[in-house]
Symmetry: C2
Subunit: 453 residues, 2 copies
């Protein structure tokens, strides 16, 4: 185990007793530079790394996946509009241009703030001079393990592919099912939670499922599929202005989505959904999009966490009493959003701008300058509703319909990493738009979980 | 349970007690026609269905997947050259144009030749008038369960994706591994079996792996990756002419593949390969491409099977004493290849032509004409060796090098189903050819099996 201040040891993954020959060699030449360990390569982590690339620091970037996921388009992977590769970008491709950055695919399982080191799932501890936690968020089932087991979710590429396979399988099963009630259940698709994820997913479900049945499953013509969006509270798209909430609901209903507000789900088991006020409902496919919490890594810090297990940070984004440890993006809890006591939301723009600020503050410390507070430039929020409508609340403008959709498409293509991926996304969209041949895709083997069928 | 001769019952999946309202409706209008049940939608099954589409029969096509896999290009999915969707074609898209064909995604678990019905994994038995088994082949480990568990294989899309993930993971693990010997092991890739699959895969591995390391894993520069092709016998590409065998080996070695003949593998466990003559070898990734046997469905017929568990058929492709039951493609055992006592090999061309012949023979029976014997037009054989070489033995011409590769590419694009897939394959190839950016793709969650790492 190496002490945190041993800067002579520059192997990316320090190990105890080995000759130079046996040591991975890509860290040569970085000796003596302060080492920044970054956990997570989402919007926050990658923008931080980019910001650090201007400074005299060694950077070790860790992620449990080998790709950066462009999650705002993930729902389109779930509904077979985009292939997974078009929204996932290999991190080694990104960091190749920064000679002082090393990437490792590895999962972090513990953090020791006193010893200034982290523990990976395999191998010896890794010492840091500065640590940035940008590991994002995970689903919040509010302690309900049964619901977690019985619902799909949409937090990474594998889960999106599972939803895709689950959808297609539901139709295959329904077409073999002689019992009418079971057939109805198989063709009921329920999405829990009406934030942007729930809204975008349910609209995409409607656009996928209804033409699919007409075209490929004539045997199912007697059972119209139902797509139901369930919201516990009185408003959908809670963070949007009232006018856009209403527009969004109109757009959804026009696509064939049933919107069910004031319905809090307490249990999902065997395809039966139980609501708090007592009623029940049957659905073959249930997706959980109702809440997130910070990555479990937050719990390893041994400090009191805020709402949603997020880590309270100073306005300079570091931990109180730990100027060397930063937390950014979905993991961070910082009040001051819209100038008030609200905390900054877990959206890409906040993570990007926090990454930029944290990079500057680390370099400020390295270079002996004072850190600055995080200042957020709110660029607004967007949510699509299908393939030609959206709602947009940007720079004090409230848009809806096709214009909002075009803004949404332009923004998302602009932020997608890599020419190849931009091209793939545009080709995929163009192809789908022209042919309406969305969904007849293949069912792989990963879809054996969470079937209530 | 319905008797096999009850042709009034025309629901695709007969069930015992239901009203008309509850019954899947797509079988309306097919009542009274003889029912042909086809198991498997590979080259044999699909060409059979196409042949039957000219006749007065009801066809029920079953497959455990919802897609037709174009297996000759599967190795390119394993090496990240093609996305899975470009070689997998949705069966419902194919059968949509034939109004008398119904498809169901279902696995057949038993066959009752006397009652003339088959049993699906779920639901009541399905009666047939004619049955065609075209369920293909599976890996043959010759009873060695340990080897089966510890090797990758390449028989479907999921397995190809597993190989892809396994390869990429090996590099990530190696770059975190301080021990030189373990690093060497992780970077040793062994392919067992030097038929076309083994040859194509090992060449593609070499073209994938060597540039990958140079470009993205500078830390691994001290351990050159090894790609080893192992063959139990004295010749590789056994079915090819001697001259082409030699050329193929030269091409492979030029790409950096080590060819190890006369090495029969007896065990693979914990990344240790044991050979029959006693020596051992370490490899982190092992792929089994050494043998196939007929689908386990063959065993359900209750008749004596031939070499490789294949089902002996009459020259008219039906079972002896069962003119209503046909077996085609990889599942069928029929002598007469090249005019001699050799059985027809398990290749796409044989399956295609058997499918066409079986369709004609079923329609002959339906229409009261005599059946004809299977006659094979041998179009030759092809195997690529990387991205610009191949060997081709076609119409008495023996080609190698770029010309053979162009023939190979043209033939495979010609046989790929669907314009979209042809386009995807050509775009994929062009992109890879131009950028050499083959492999930096994403690692999904399905890759937790068969790691000897």
């Amino acid at each position: 185990v190496l002490p945190g201040d041993n800067l002579q040891q520059s192997s990316p993954i320090p190990d105890t007793a080995q000759t130079d020959k046996e040591r991975p060699t890509d860290s040569a030449g970085k000796a003596g530079l302060p080492r920044v360990v970054v956990v997570g390569s989402g919007f926050g982590g990658l923008n931080l790394v980019r910001g650090l690339s201007r400074g005299e620091v060694e950077v070790i970037l860790l992620d449990r996946n080998n790709y950066h996921g462009f999650w705002p388009l993930l729902y389109q992977v779930a509904t077979a509009e985009l292939i997974p590769d078009s929204i996932a970008f290999p991190i080694r491709e990104v960091v190749r241009k920064y000679h002082q950055v090393t990437f490792h695919m590895a999962e972090v399982c513990d953090v020791d703030l006193q010893q200034k080191q982290i523990q990976l799932q395999a191998g010896p501890p890794l010492a840091y001079d500065y640590l940035v936690l940008a590991a994002g968020s995970t689903n919040n089932y509010f302690g309900n393990e049964t619901t977690a087991r019985n619902t799909f979710s949409l937090k990474d590429v594998d889960q999106a592919v599972e939803i895709r396979h689950g959808l297609l399988k539901a139709f295959e099963k329904a077409s073999l099912e002689p019992d009418l009630n079971r057939r109805k259940k198989l063709l009921t698709f329920l999405i829990i939670g009406s934030g942007p994820t729930g809204v975008e997913l349910s609209a995409a479900f409607a656009e996928l499922i209804l033409p699919l049945v007409r075209k490929y499953y004539p045997a199912l013509a007697d059972v119209p599929p139902r797509i139901i969006l369930v919201e516990a509270h009185t408003t959908m798209l809670e963070s949007f202005p009232k006018g856009l909430q209403k527009k969004a609901q109109q757009h959804l209903e026009r696509l064939g989505v049933e919107v069910l507000k004031n319905h809090e789900v307490t249990q999902v088991e065997n395809g039966e959904i139980t609501f708090k006020h007592g009623s029940k409902m049957q659905a073959g496919t249930v997706v959980w999009a109702a809440g997130v919490r910070a990555s479990p890594l937050a719990e390893k810090l041994g400090i009191k966490l805020a709402h949603g297990d997020r880590v309270p940070v100073e306005p300079t984004l570091n931990l109180q009493d730990h100027p060397d440890v930063f937390v950014i993006g979905d993991m961070a809890y910082l009040e001051g959003y819209k100038g008030g006591q609200q905390s900054y939301p877990g959206v890409a723009q906040v993570a990007i701008q926090m990454g930029e600020r944290a990079a500057k503050n680390i370099l400020a410390q390295v270079e002996g300058r004072p850190m600055k507070k995080f200042h957020y430039l709110d660029k607004g929020q967007l949510s699509t509703i299908g393939r030609k409508d959206a709602v947009a609340d940007i720079f004090n403008l409230q848009l809806s319909g096709l214009l909002a959709w075009l803004v949404w498409a332009a923004v998302h293509i602009y932020y997608l990493l890599g020419m190849r991926n931009r091209l793939l996304v545009m080709l995929g969209w163009a192809y789908n738009y022209l042919t309406y041949n969305l969904a007849m895709r293949i069912i792989g083997g990963a879809s054996n979980r969470k079937e209530n069928q």
